[in-house]
Symmetry: C2
Subunit: 161 residues, 2 copies
DNA sequence: CTCATTTTGTTTCCTTGTCAACAAAAATTA
DNA sequence: TAATTTTTGTTGACAAGGAAACAAAATGAG
């Protein structure tokens, strides 16, 4: 196995474990709310004028899926929607006080995850941080370019009918 | 945002893009086979005496889900099952020639993904590799310990009935 | 050995997300 | 301006995966 494959394998392993572990704790702490709902609450709490389309792009999900989640959050009274006077098409969301409460719990939990993993990160030197960040930045830019390429290829496909 | 959070954020971003991009190319190249099916084929092709339980553990999925996927692969004739004479409970899988074919296509695609991303990795020095690997190893071990802890806590919960 | 417990695989029901079709509004083009 | 195209959000049909209940086999305790 190449260095590249070895790194990516470890990378994947860490990621999967994190998702699994954090989701479990999250759903235990925020019983009654699914992790996808909490993700939406987090995004809505941190951005201005978020709508279905922005949420979908942020989470690599379809607008349909997000539409259903926000509908549930509206029903639960965790978010509310509003519109601008200039645009009667887009529908934005904001947190209600109850939603803000869930948001805070989520933030605290995130802090506790961070603290849980501190032992690992406190051994990382400034140079190591910089080095990893350089690598991840480069990889991110590379993948953005590849996704763009893919997007163009899909768009240019002639319509068969 | 702390160094830790910044790194993890970039980490997450790279990972999501990789999954999205590779899955798309994979499903285009292997039309008719879902990516989860191909993952199972890959695992079965690379391990000895794989069964439903091993696959579930490897992919952090339930045995029920894997059972359904292997059923589909059996129906498609991509894998076949066999049992040992000492154990009449466990059911193992192996690839058929057709499954082996899908396996090879998948491997080639993986190679092409690796080559696609080579530009990023060829800029990584040996020391950078070592440094990242140390970090990922430590993180992996830490998470394993935390998952263990979680498992014990779930097991030790007194049964209410 | 015998009985209880654990492991393994399957099935049913339910939830979640995708896909495709759609309607309304906005943006673009002629 | 008028007509076309794109964007936005929603819905219904469908597929994938999880939870739980189950049966059969293996393991363990006595």
């Amino acid at each position: 196995m190449s260095q590249q494959e070895k790194i990516m394998e470890e990378f994947r392993s860490v990621f999967n474990k994190l998702v699994w572990l954090n989701r479990g704790e999250m759903e235990e702490a925020l019983k009654g709310h699914k992790s996808s709902e909490v993700h939406c609450i987090e995004y809505i709490g941190k951005h201005v004028d978020p709508n279905v389309t922005r949420l979908a792009e942020a989470f690599y999900m379809t607008r349909g899926a997000i539409s259903k989640i926000t509908k549930k959050l509206l029903d639960k009274g965790l978010i509310e929607s509003y519109q601008s006077s200039e645009n009667k098409k887009e529908i934005y969301f904001r947190l209600t006080p109850e939603g803000r409460n869930v948001f805070e719990i989520h933030e605290n939990l995130h802090r506790s995850f961070r603290e849980r993993d501190d032992v690992v990160f406190e051994k990382v030197s400034a140079e190591q941080y910089a080095s990893m960040s350089r690598f991840l930045d480069a990889y991110n830019r590379h993948l953005d370019a590849e996704i763009d390429k893919q997007g163009i290829m899909l768009q240019d496909r002639p319509n068969p009918e």
